[in-house]
């Protein structure tokens, strides 16, 4: 229940720190560039970039910082390409994951629309967290 397994497909990734609100802008830009590179359409790309913005801001606000690892992945040879982004922090972790996905759960506490909103914007979503052990979230959008 708490942890889907987070299994990145990427062997190498571009790792970007998230320590200020400007870093959120940089992560968005990097995600958009990868999405354009593999021809993800405008709507899917806008959703992916928005999800990156939400999740990067979560890292900043709830863990005080962390990192994003971005890569283009193609698991079945060259047939299918996707953008994979892994957000990781060493923050307090999420105590009640089920609640964190509820619509509107965290809006009053500045967490945007929670994780549920971000999950709806991408094709693949996996989360791993333990109280005191930080949080890792993986998202993917396929071209």
């Amino acid at each position: 229940m708490v942890s889907d397994s987070v299994r990145p497909l990427a062997r190498e990734a571009q790792v970007m720190p998230i320590v200020s609100d400007h870093d959120v802008v940089l992560v968005r830009r990097a995600a958009r560039e990868l999405a354009e590179e593999i021809g993800i359409g405008l709507v899917a790309r806008t959703k992916l970039v928005t999800a990156c913005s939400e999740l990067a801001r979560n890292v900043l606000e709830h863990a005080g910082g962390g990192r994003a690892s971005l890569a283009v992945v193609s698991p079945d040879g060259a047939r299918r390409h996707g953008v994979e982004v892994v957000f990781a922090d060493d923050g307090p972790g999420i105590g009640d994951v089920e609640r964190a996905f509820e619509r509107g759960y965290s809006t009053k506490r500045g967490l945007g629309l929670g994780l549920g909103g971000s999950r709806r914007l991408v094709d693949d979503f996996a989360l791993s967290t333990e109280p005191g052990e930080g949080t890792t979230i993986l998202i993917r959008t396929w071209a």
Partner: protein, 121 residues
Amino acid sequence: MRDDEASSRTAILAIGNTLIATLQGSIDDRAALALKDDLSRRVVATAASGVLIELSAIDIVDSFIGRVIADIAAVSKLLGARVVVAGMRPAVAITLVELGLELPEVETAVNTEQGLALLGR
């Protein structure tokens, strides 16, 4: 220059008793909060009756920017001005709905011209 590489900029223009705020580039959190403060001050200073927020140059609106827009609408209303958000890109609108941020309290228009018409100009 790509949208994201332009530094976040906002410009506020007054036409009669209407203020037009144009958001450009990839707006970061500080720029969004600064816009909220600037607009509130300008509404009072110019006794504006309407505020048009023009979004056509913005390629993403996340929940933070969305909340700032909702706040601007709420504050302006308390100050006696009506707010219309104009020119949102279709991909941005689709994303906001899926994100769960429909901004029901904010009036919208498809473009600047219709936004100004709504504000009585």
